[in-house]
């Protein structure tokens, strides 16, 4: 555990050293956030609510989804793939540490730094620019905090599995792009799942994607009743555990195929 925290801290600090990249990312996220919020306001066209979603809720949705882009690495995360391609995975496998936990610690450190520098800052900016909805009670804030942490874990387990594709193909980036693009649609990142037809929502419920973003949004906006909230959180935890276990089997098979390039 000490080791886990140490790696987490180092990764957090490393992420904070990329100052220019952080600022550039923040500006981009904010720009598109304002754009998306404006489009949503126009689309609502003065209707008070659509499918139970108010204008204020829709704008908050735009802010939240833009805010978690960096935290959840929604546009792709290739660290393990690159380490397999470059062969630096060899050095990691020589360390007496579980490969999954090693990367989990690093990713939590990275995500924590980006949550602060790109998530929190963006939401505060959004609060100044627009009228947004906030959780109404401490219990809702707490539920939101849990949902956010669990979404990070589910997202990590999913990204971990996708990255393992590099064990099978020397050019797995294409597969990765496809896999990550699924996240945008089925997680409720592009549009709140509530606005999609029922059959689509039902389909999504069978995938881990809503556990990455939609749950966080619903809890933040207060659209779930307390029992529903608890159920959603448990479902997130179940997805994390399930995907993590699955990843171990894939990892084991992958290492058997490992060819360390060069040297």
């Amino acid at each position: 555990m000490r080791l886990f925290l140490k790696i987490l801290r180092l990764s957090f600090r490393r992420q904070l050293t990329y100052r220019t990249a952080t600022l550039a990312g923040l500006v981009t996220n904010l720009f598109f956030g304002v754009l998306r919020a404006s489009v949503l306001i126009a689309l609502f066209n003065a209707q008070p609510s659509v499918n139970g979603l108010t204008v204020k809720g829709a704008v908050t949705f735009a802010g939240l989804t833009q805010g978690v882009i960096a935290y959840l690495s929604i546009f792709g995360w290739w660290d393990i793939m690159q380490s397999i391609e470059k062969g630096s995975i060899g050095a990691d496998l020589l360390k007496p540490m579980n490969f999954f936990t090693y990367w989990l610690a690093q990713d939590i450190g990275r995500a924590a730094a980006q949550f602060v520098t790109r998530g929190l800052v963006l939401m505060i900016a959004f609060g100044f620019l627009f009228q947004i909805t906030l959780p109404a009670s401490p219990a809702q804030w707490l539920a939101f905090a849990f949902a956010l942490i669990l979404s990070g874990l589910v997202s990590f387990a999913w990204r971990f599995i996708i990255n393992l594709a590099a064990f099978w193909s020397p050019n797995a980036i294409g597969f990765g792009r496809f896999a990550f693009s699924l996240t945008w649609i089925f997680s409720g990142f592009a549009m709140p799942l509530r606005l999609f037809p029922d059959w689509f929502q039902q389909f999504c419920a069978f995938t881990p994607f809503p556990a990455m973003i939609n749950t966080v949004i619903e809890i933040f906006l207060g659209t779930l009743t307390p029992p529903e909230t608890l159920q959603a959180l448990l479902l997130q935890a179940a997805w994390f555990v399930g995907l993590s276990i699955l990843s171990q089997f894939i990892l084991k098979a992958g290492i058997r195929r490992l060819v360390i390039q060069g040297g």
Binding site: L10, G90, A91, L93, L94, K95, I255, V259, G262, G263
Partner: protein
């Protein structure tokens, strides 16, 4: 004593996909890729006793690194048995790697963007090295390897020689019983090479660490290893002492003679005359047929000699002959 490393009929076959010519080839490749099997290591067997320092040699692509990667648990063998310290490296990987140290000269095992000292601190946590032990080793290695000038520099800014020294230190902080070194002196200057060699020798002698070393620098072998294992095309060609290697394949010694007077014919029985020019002549002779002193006395009985020198066959020549002339292949 019991063997610390046991390798039996170890083989590793890689499958590579070949690209085919033209459009039709590319299409065919999509449906049924053309696979080619490459045997990197074939039926290699050997054992190592605790405390040995063995040179593992072979030309490029011989299968040295592949063997080492199997021994360190990075690659899973296609067939055969590897047992190190009573463990199967790839199966018990996390437990196993805690008991070994490894340096792959071509790449670092440290963290690219961390200062050297922080990398070491992280290693202390990873290997759960007790504070006292860690500080003791740290002080010692800082001293012998001269790490102080760059101990706070990020790993990515180190020179090759500095990086190699930092990597060696990192591999030994947890007192491994076994050390795997894959080309630890590659690309280093003479002074740096010498420093690394002294350190390796120190570790082997003082700490009784068992070491396997691959290298292309035969001076490493001459200065460090008593025993060598040679492989080529994935097959084991030789396993024995350096001396035995020299005796068997050392080829011929040479004797250079400066005569006091010119002689028209200086040939002598038992040795071949390679060159004869003016006052100087060079002979080649086989240690099994004729000793150096016999040859010299034969010569001095017949001619007046002003100076002479005997040259032993260089290990370079021996190894080159084994690689190029395929002396060991049946």
């Amino acid at each position: 004593m019991n063997a610390i490393i046991k390798v039996e009929h170890l083989s590793k076959t890689f499958e590579i996909t070949q690209s085919q010519k033209g459009w039709s080839g590319a299409l065919r490749g999509l449906i049924k890729p053309l696979k080619k099997k490459i045997a990197a290591v074939k039926e290699v067997s050997f054992e190592l006793k605790p405390g040995e320092l063995v040179g593992y040699l072979g030309p490029n692509g011989a299968g040295k690194s592949t063997t080492l990667k199997m021994l360190t648990g990075l690659l899973v063998p296609t067939s055969g048995v590897v047992q190190v310290n009573g463990l199967v490296p790839w199966r018990d990987r996390t437990k196993y790697v805690a008991s070994i140290g490894a340096v792959f000269g071509q790449r670092t095992t440290l963290w690219w963007d961390l200062p050297v000292q922080e990398s070491f601190d992280l290693i202390q946590y990873m290997y759960r090295i007790p504070d006292k032990r860690y500080r003791h080793n740290m002080d010692l290695f800082r001293d012998i390897l001269g790490l102080d000038p760059f101990i706070n520099t990020p790993v990515r800014s180190l020179s090759l020689g500095q990086r190699m020294r930092a990597d060696l230190c990192a591999a030994l902080l947890h007192d491994p019983k076994l050390l795997f070194l894959d080309e630890p002196t590659i690309g280093l200057d003479v002074v740096a090479k010498d420093k690394i060699r002294q350190f390796i020798k120190h570790v082997n002698e003082e700490r009784k660490t068992t070491i396997i070393l691959t290298t292309h620098d035969l001076q490493d072998v001459e200065k460090l290893c008593e025993r060598v294992i040679i492989i080529d095309h994935g097959q084991l060609l030789f396993d024995g002492t350096l001396e035995a290697l020299n005796n068997r394949f050392g080829g011929q010694r040479t004797l250079q003679v400066d005569f006091a007077e010119t002689y028209p014919d200086v040939s002598i029985e038992g040795a071949g005359l390679i060159s004869h020019e003016g006052l100087q002549a060079t002979y080649q002779f086989d240690r099994d047929i004729l000793s150096a002193s016999d040859l010299i006395s034969r010569l001095s009985n017949r001619y007046k000699i002003s100076d002479l020198s005997v040259r032993e066959p260089a290990i370079e020549d021996t190894i080159r002959r084994i690689y190029v002339d395929k002396l060991l292949e049946n």
